[in-house]
């Protein structure tokens, strides 16, 4: 386990207007690693996908609480956990399949997990029906020359 060099916690109501706040806050925390423009864009997009999942799928648009912790581990590793206490995911493998969505009427593309996986080094999902879901995004930022 790499040494945790810095850590922050965030909690906010699951209102869609907070999606922008959440991704901007995590990107601001990651700024101390001097990320590239592309890395900032990747982090913002992955966090936005995970937070949107909490709002749309976990809480079904009810106003509850979304919890985020972010850590800097070792020299360049960013670990972001996005947690909800919503409906949970019965079949995680199915939920991570591209184009799968439980909200087709909302014009969801079903690409949230596929986008997170394509932008991060690792994505871990832990979930229990009726208890909630924790998505962990892990990304090692490049060393700047």
């Amino acid at each position: 386990m790499k040494e945790i060099r810095n850590r922050m916690k965030l909690e906010f109501e699951s209102r869609s207007c907070n999606e922008s706040f959440a991704r901007t806050a995590v990107a601001a925390f990651a700024a101390q690693l001097d990320p590239t423009y592309e890395e900032v864009s990747d982090i913002r997009t992955a966090v936005s996908e995970a937070v949107t999942n909490c709002i749309v799928h976990a809480y079904r648009e009810r106003v509850e609480t979304v919890y985020i912790t972010a850590e800097i581990r070792g020299e360049r590793e960013l670990v972001v956990r996005i947690r909800d206490k919503g409906c949970g995911i019965a079949d995680i493998e199915q939920a991570m399949q591209p184009l799968f969505t439980t909200a087709p009427g909302e014009e969801r593309a079903g690409l949230g997990f596929a986008v997170m996986q394509s932008l991060c080094d690792r994505v871990r999902v832990r979930s229990k029906p009726d208890a909630g879901t924790t998505v962990t995004l892990i990304k090692t930022l490049k060393l700047r020359q």
Partner: protein, 122 residues
């Protein structure tokens, strides 16, 4: 609340929707309502969505495009996307959108000509 970040122009059987700012689940609902209203009023042969002034987009943007493709298809029209940057094109190809819609190489077409009407929502 916030104004809808899209400007709508009509020209030659085409509806131009110039999007701006950040497209996520929150803003895409407002964008969807505004664009659908314009398309249902004009029943155009073509809808052009311009992304030249979009500063952020997650997969909600893909859902927005797929929904507008379905809507314009009902009227027998076509959907074109313009002003896309490399990263946006990459995500859209990942979703298979390049098989459904036309990617235009240049953006800003919505500002050309003399549009008959302008509904800037910003």
């Amino acid at each position: 609340m916030n104004a809808v970040p899209v400007a709508i122009d009509y020209l030659d059987e085409t509806v131009y929707a110039s999007l701006s700012g950040e497209i996520d689940h929150h803003t895409s609902r407002m964008l969807r309502a505004k664009i659908d209203d314009a398309v249902s009023r004009a029943v155009p042969q073509r809808l052009v969505m311009d992304f030249a002034h979009v500063t952020f987009m997650d997969s909600s943007g893909i859902g927005l495009i797929m929904g507008r493709y379905q809507q314009i298809s009902v009227y027998g029209g076509r959907l074109s996307l313009s002003g896309l940057n490399t990263q946006q094109k990459k995500v859209m190809r990942l979703a298979g959108l390049d098989k459904l819609v036309d990617f235009e190489t240049t953006g800003g077409e919505a500002h050309e000509g003399n549009p008959q009407q302008n509904e800037a929502g910003v």
